[in-house]
Symmetry: C2
Subunit: 268 residues, 2 copies
């Protein structure tokens, strides 16, 4: 479960496959079915090249081409692959019962996240009120430097990965409380390491606060993070801090199981 902070080059990359995947990202970024020309306008590839990629990806079911409107959209094969990814490569399936328990105990919103290219990828969530349906929120990405789970993970990253991650932060000041510089963030990360848990003090969204704890492997690797989130009119940071031990405990239990999950199959 190598949820390193690391990743691949932002754009371009290894050979033909990398380029093809960039095309996929392009379509994904658009957020709606796009036409050939829209994609061409990114000037990432010459016409013929882009055309061939679109053909290939469509053939492969990674994209779907609607001949009536001439638009491309992400294909069903992705959904299928992602279902497999979600149920195998992430912490989500393992953590599931623990999230349920935490949600029941606290009555608050629970997030489970992993690091992805310096950003936070939410892999599962429990809503204060109703249960979740798969990709609706799981799969979303958010910033790392101003969220509880993000800071909790960054605090335990090895130096080189932390640097790479910091470089990727925008440090946009979402609220007056946002830590909007690398130095402010570094100081906060030190405090988090000392404490063992992170807070979000309305740094991303006004009125939203949380406590978060990292999920660490026995060797100290960052596997993910876990948070209990609330709002300022329902709770306070102090009240949330009272939950910190429970969150850390849960994180430890998840780590424990994640660890033991590795050994079962050593055979061919």
């Amino acid at each position: 479960m190598g949820a390193d902070g690391g990743g691949h080059a932002a754009t371009g990359g290894d050979g033909t496959v990398g380029k093809a995947l960039d095309v996929l990202d392009l379509v994904a970024q658009a957020g709606r079915p796009v036409r050939f020309t829209d994609l061409l306008a990114h000037r990432l590839f010459p016409k013929a090249t882009l055309y061939r990629f679109l053909q290939t990806l469509t053939n492969q079911g990674m994209l779907s081409h609607d001949s009536e409107t001439g638009t491309y959209a992400l294909g069903v094969r992705l959904v299928r692959l992602a279902h497999a990814a979600w149920s195998q490569s992430s912490l989500a399936p393992i953590a599931r019962p623990f999230l349920d328990a935490l949600a029941r105990d606290t009555g608050e919103t629970i997030h489970l996240a992993q690091m992805d290219q310096g950003q936070v990828l939410y892999v599962d969530k429990r809503n204060a009120t109703k249960p979740v349906d798969m990709f609706s929120q799981a799969g979303k990405v958010g910033p790392a430097y101003c969220t509880g789970v993000g800071k909790a993970m960054m605090a335990y990253l090895p130096d080189d990965l932390l640097e790479r991650a910091i470089e990727r932060q925008s440090f946009h000041a979402f609220t007056p409380r946002t830590l909007a510089s690398p130095d402010a963030l570094r100081a906060e990360l030190a405090a988090i390491r000392a404490r063992g848990h992170a807070f979000d003090r309305e740094e991303h969204e006004a009125g939203i606060i949380c406590v978060a704890a990292p999920i660490l492997s026995r060797t100290g690797h960052v596997l993910g993070a876990l948070s209990v989130t609330s709002t300022t009119d329902r709770s306070t940071l102090g009240a949330l801090e009272a939950q910190a031990d429970k969150v850390k405990q849960t994180a430890a239990e998840i780590a424990e199981i994640a660890e033991s999950w590795r050994f079962p199959e050593q055979n061919a």
Copy 2:
């Protein structure tokens, strides 16, 4: 929203990209983190070639490599892409409110599915008020010839796609009621076309029954299908048939909106 029955060649295919995606599928099929040798054993690629693909895919974040155990698993980039896919290329986001309404009205399990390579891909689901444990789940795939949604979609496929789809069915007899031959299926599809809706008479799982209706574009294209599912000890086929009109009505409404969704953005 080209949810044709069509797809890509089962294995191998266009150039380097196709092969790389086959490697992805290989890892997905395994259903657990796999080692280099496990993948090599498929004899799909020579050692060095497979190695390079794994490197590339890992670089790209499509796979993650755990250096401690030497295993490969599907990467987080897939989850991210799939989130985009789900919210853009499938019927799911459009159909959402309609599924909610149907779920509320009927109190039963609701499925929304699309065709994918002759199989049924469940893209969304609403659990019954008193949930039953069932095979299906958003992102999962299932057989077409023995499920309500599958048969509803097949019944309205154009001849060539139908043939392709039939060839891909296993016709495994899950239960005594399963239609276990192409001819039996063809007869059933004719009946479905006559009626406008399909049943699942415990053909896939004992005790599970449903009514399903196809979601058709104005031009007659199969976009997906919708079903209301129950169990034999809670309901009967007769009782479900009483819901058929409501299901068809909902399918028509979804089709309507899906259609109008195509026109909004004609600009660059």
